[in-house]
Amino acid sequence: MTDEPRPGQPPPAPEPKPAAPAKPPVVLPDPVFNTANGRLLFAEDRLWPNRVWKGMFSLPRYRNGALMLAGIIVAGTAFVAAVGELDSRVRPVFNWLSAQAAALSLPALLFPAAWIVVKVLAITGVIVAAPIFLVWWERKISAHMQSRFGPMVTGGFHGWLQTVADGIKLFLKENITPVTADRWVHLLGPIVALGPVFLAFAPVCFGRELAAADLDIGVVYIFAMTGVSVLGIMMAGWGSGNKYSLLGGLRAAAQLVSYEIPRAFSVIPVIMLAGSLNLTKIVAAQSGWWFDGIPVLPRWFIFYPVVGQLSFLIFLITSVAETNRTPFDIPEAESELVSGFHTEYSGLKFSFFFLAEYAYMTLGCCLMAAFFLGGGAAPWPFLSFIPSWAWFTVKVLGLVFCFMWFRWTFPRFRVDRLMDFNWKFLLPWSFANIAIAGLYVML
């Protein structure tokens, strides 16, 4: 009890502690970030799209990119203008060679035959080289549409050699033939699918006098050849001995045969207005200008009121469907059929299908450029210093971009909706379109 302080008395003062020795304040080293092995991105450096979108060109990487793009366009224009029309470059060579052949008194048919081989090789080069570029382009476009980069490493500049590396990989891969497969049908499927593409490119007019074969029935010939490819896809589906492949092949048959019809009908107005099946003549029929020849709007078939736009849209949609690309990719729907008719294909045989798809895409775009966009014609006369083959390429690439744009925007059609869309929408409208074109021809 004695220890408790009694009320009224102040508590005893605590004994003063001995003064603690003054501690030095804790000094921590500032953090140092190691920038030697990579660019470090702090929270404030994160380039979230919406924030960057506002002040886009204040960023050096955007400014440099825009400058680079402008430089590429200017340099490319200057280059193609310097090269000029290809036929004017090739004709002296041809004349000289034919003179040499005549001087050597070679057999009369030998030199034309050799020249045909040269043309075939040139076209084959285009068909084989185009997918190498287009696949890379597609990967970049799809990546950027999904806020990604796509291939960035191979080849140094934005992965431009990625497709070549992939091609080498496909070339070296094992060719697997399943035990249940019908060996010959399985082998012939990709060949039958790819072969007609090379033939179908023959009458395509790549610019002024740049058609390998100036066929009078060019349009019919191209449609006939593309029709053969369906057989290859069906063979692949049947010969693989796999239910997914079979379903894919059957779907492909149904889809491609159905969409072939409005595709052909949508071209008929063009043929009616041009009065020819020859692609060169169809292109030539689109020269001139609307509004009494004032060079504002060219007389391309896409600019014919109603009929041009309708047939262009129908042809565009059916071309996407013909190349088995999304939204019409039910023959190879990944989520339903593994990968459809080419499930059992690997290595080079798979790359044949791949090549065929991209070659058909190029072919469809070439046809669209020739039928509706005036082929190699410049839209305005002051731009006609750019040669026709460059205009044709630009138009084809723009349409190819549209194909890729559709592919990476739209979800896949359901099978029955796909058929509904074709038979109940595209086909009646293509018929109506022919009727409208008939009115044009009558007036």
Binding site: L28, V32, F33, G38, R39, V52, I141, F149, M152
Partner: protein, 170 residues
């Protein structure tokens, strides 16, 4: 009329979808090109544990706090054989560590003797490398014992984001 209305609406929706993808395409990508670009985590990120043998008072609170028992230490002894509040060696198995920060919270010193760095690039090629040892004068990232050559080796290239790691006073 209703038919044309449907068609027009469908076209408008298709155009909307196309516009969205086109707009996204010209916006910059948000991908970080990892080996060339590295995201620095926010402060307070629980990365690889680092340790400072100069500050540690070898109180074993971190050993007791650790739920996965990845820390071991031994105190130094003076000439009389009595333990002093300095650490003789300290080991930490990064393979067992579950990055919970309980050891850092338990550590009584100021600044913390064991703390989480912001580094996320701990890469090991053997199990021995996962166990890190510290003694007096060892660098922050520690060393690992190579049983083949029977030597202690630095954990080179494992803590690469910061050369002088960030520490927080609290």
């Amino acid at each position: 009329m209703r038919y044309f209305q449907t068609v027009l609406n469908a076209c408008a929706d298709i155009g909307k979808g196309l516009w969205i993808t086109l707009r996204t395409m010209v916006k910059p990508a948000i991908t970080v090109q990892y080996p060339d670009e590295k995201l620095v985590p926010y402060p307070g990120f629980r990365g690889v544990l680092l340790y400072d043998a100069e500050i540690c008072i070898s109180c074993s609170l971190c050993v007791k706090a650790c739920p996965s028992e990845c820390i071991q230490l031994e105190s130094r002894k003076n000439e009389a054989g009595k333990r002093v509040p300095k650490v003789s060696w300290y080991s930490l198995d990064v393979g067992k560590c579950n990055f919970c920060r309980l050891c850092e919270e338990a550590c009584p010193t100021k600044p913390k003797a064991v703390w989480h760095s912001r580094d996320f690039e701990a890469v090991f090629s053997s199990r021995e490398e996962m166990v890190r040892y510290w003694r007096k004068g060892t660098e922050y990232p520690g060393q690992w014992y190579d049983p083949v050559t029977r030597t202690y080796k630095p954990v080179a290239g494992q803590v690469s984001l910061q050369t002088v790691p960030e520490r927080i006073l609290y």
